[in-house]
């Protein structure tokens, strides 16, 4: 199969980028999108040209490193990460736009690679639990009702890939923060920080310069882990609870 690629090329964070037309010829339909980019890169290197910079790690849809936007859809068409997109999904001779995540808080480092440290810093603000060191406790020592465990697990499926903020017309990170807060606040292990967590993470999110949620639900549509936007409702709830508790002096 042959494709006309329109790829975003940008030398560094400080230089302006532009689209470059690159032909991807003789691609087998069973190639994954990333393998197709590998083939194109090998040819570029053979021709003595600069290869396209893009990120990937596990290439099996788990890690979410492959932060590509294919034809305007973060993580590409279909559910799952961009590495799970196969070239048979496209028409022969199709023009495919490949862009990096576009959000002010995810600055472009080079070509299709963005810096997603903003999510790490939000995690540092409250995306953790406090636990004793030493021997692991008995796995069944703490009872968790099945529906609670299910809801927490659904939220814990978030891999922090950043597609939610990339898809959001406002570049809002609410689905990510909502997933983390829902996951940890629902479980008994997350209770010591539960009241502060939403407050701390939302403040960190605001400081990173992410936008505000307008309830567009584009995040939910692209999330490779199918996290539901209901986690945002829980975040809204827990955040206000936390702020009010603090304002009236209910917690430190």
């Amino acid at each position: 199969m042959n494709f006309h690629l329109r790829l975003w090329r940008q030398k560094s964070a400080d230089t302006p980028g532009r689209f470059e037309g690159i032909e991807a010829t003789n691609i087998t339909p069973d190639c994954s999108f990333l393998e197709m980019l590998d083939i194109v890169n090998n040819r570029l290197i053979t021709d003595g040209k600069e290869p396209i910079a893009f990120e990937s790690d596990c290439r099996e849809g788990i890690c979410g490193t492959c932060s590509l936007v294919i034809n305007g859809v973060p993580q590409g068409p279909g559910r799952g990460a961009a590495c799970q997109v196969y070239m048979r999904k496209f028409k022969d001779g199709e023009t495919i736009f490949v862009e990096p995540f576009r959000a002010g808080s995810f600055p472009i480092l080079k070509d299709l690679v963005v810096n997603r440290s903003a999510y790490e810093r939000i995690m540092r603000a409250g995306g953790f639990i406090s636990e004793h060191t030493g021997g692991a406790p008995d796995a069944s020592a703490i009872l968790i009702p099945k529906p609670v465990a299910d809801k927490a697990m659904d939220a814990a499926a978030c891999i922090g890939c950043g597609a939610c903020a990339a898809a959001c017309p406002n570049s809002s990170a609410m689905l990510f923060v909502g997933a983390k807060v829902t996951h940890l606040n629902l479980l008994p292990q997350g209770q010591p920080e539960a009241k502060k967590r939403a407050r701390a993470m939302v403040r960190a999110m605001d400081e990173e310069g992410f936008g505000n949620c307008s309830n567009y639900y584009a995040c939910e549509a692209v999330c490779p882990a199918s996290v539901s936007a209901s986690v945002i409702a829980k975040l809204n709830r827990d955040y206000i609870k936390g702020e009010v508790s603090e304002a009236v002096g209910a917690i430190d």
Binding site: R102, S105, R121, A167, E208, A233, L235, Y239
Partner: protein
């Protein structure tokens, strides 16, 4: 301990690629609750609820035009008889509208700053036209409200209507409304405005439940449907009045639609 914390904070600031726009953007208050993203969205949601209540109450009042001049003129006179209290209500409404708009503009400006570059290929991804047009519909509605107040409250376009008195000596609101809507341009603008208001409410009603944290995955589709239905009912209620005037169902002098009501 303190040295680790210091390292942590310097690491954060050096890693941080751009300064925070948020804390400086909000100048209305210093409380973290009200300056945060979610805090201001709560203000928009709560003022939105109050405005929906106003819009519903106003519609019920307007519908008194159907039983005839006796009803709507009595209703208008009752409102006017509130005297200074009416001004309190007006000022409270003005403050609510002001808060709703101020917070939205702040949030919108931050959203624009957070998204410096758009994608080459636009993809609406599940977003509804109602959600995407909130700012446009809101702006047209506020422009309409100003026109509407000038027309029917201040009566600046046709001051002669101020002197219209019904048989009981009350201000003849019935006649004023019929005269106003007999102008097809006035009716057209009114229909456009209430249509856009319905679009605004359609997203706004379902959205406020999400913002206030009252939705679950199961409830959200129900709230979305409820938003559509309430918006449609409000649209039909408001739109029926200019349409009835243009179709001659409501006319001056009044012709009773129902033999039991006079």
């Amino acid at each position: 301990m303190s040295s680790t914390a210091n390292k942590e904070s310097t690491g954060t600031s050096s890693l941080s690629s751009k300064p925070s726009g948020k804390s400086s953007a909000c100048c209305t208050c210093s409380s973290p609750l009200l300056s945060s993203s979610i805090g201001r969205k709560w203000i928009v949601a709560i003022t939105g609820i109050l405005l929906i209540l106003f819009v519903s109450g106003h519609l019920l009042g307007n519908l008194t035009i159907y039983p005839g001049p006796n009803w709507i003129n009595a209703y208008a006179e009752h409102l006017q008889s509130l005297g200074p209290f009416l001004w309190v209500i007006r000022l409270v409404l003005l403050a609510i509208v002001g808060l709703h708009i101020t917070c939205t503009i702040q949030l919108w400006m931050e959203n624009r700053a957070a998204t410096p570059q758009k994608y080459a290929v636009t993809n609406t991804l599940q977003t509804t036209i109602y959600a995407r047009s909130m700012r446009l519909t809101g702006l047209v509605v506020i422009a309409f409200i100003i026109f509407h107040l000038a027309q029917f409250t201040w009566q600046g376009f046709n001051p002669v209507t101020r002197t219209w008195i019904d048989a009981q000596g009350r201000h003849d609101v019935y006649r004023m409304v019929i005269a106003g809507f007999s102008n097809p341009f006035v009716s057209a603008f009114y229909l456009l405005a209430v249509g856009l208001l319905a679009m605004h409410l359609s997203h706004g009603i379902s959205s406020l439940f999400q913002t206030l944290g009252l939705t679950t995955a199961k409830l959200r589709p129900l709230f979305e449907r409820a938003g559509r239905i309430i918006a449609l009912v409000i649209f039909l209620g408001y739109a029926s009045i200019p349409l009835s005037v243009l179709l001659g169902i409501l006319r001056y002098p009044h012709v009773s639609l129902c033999p039991f009501v006079h």
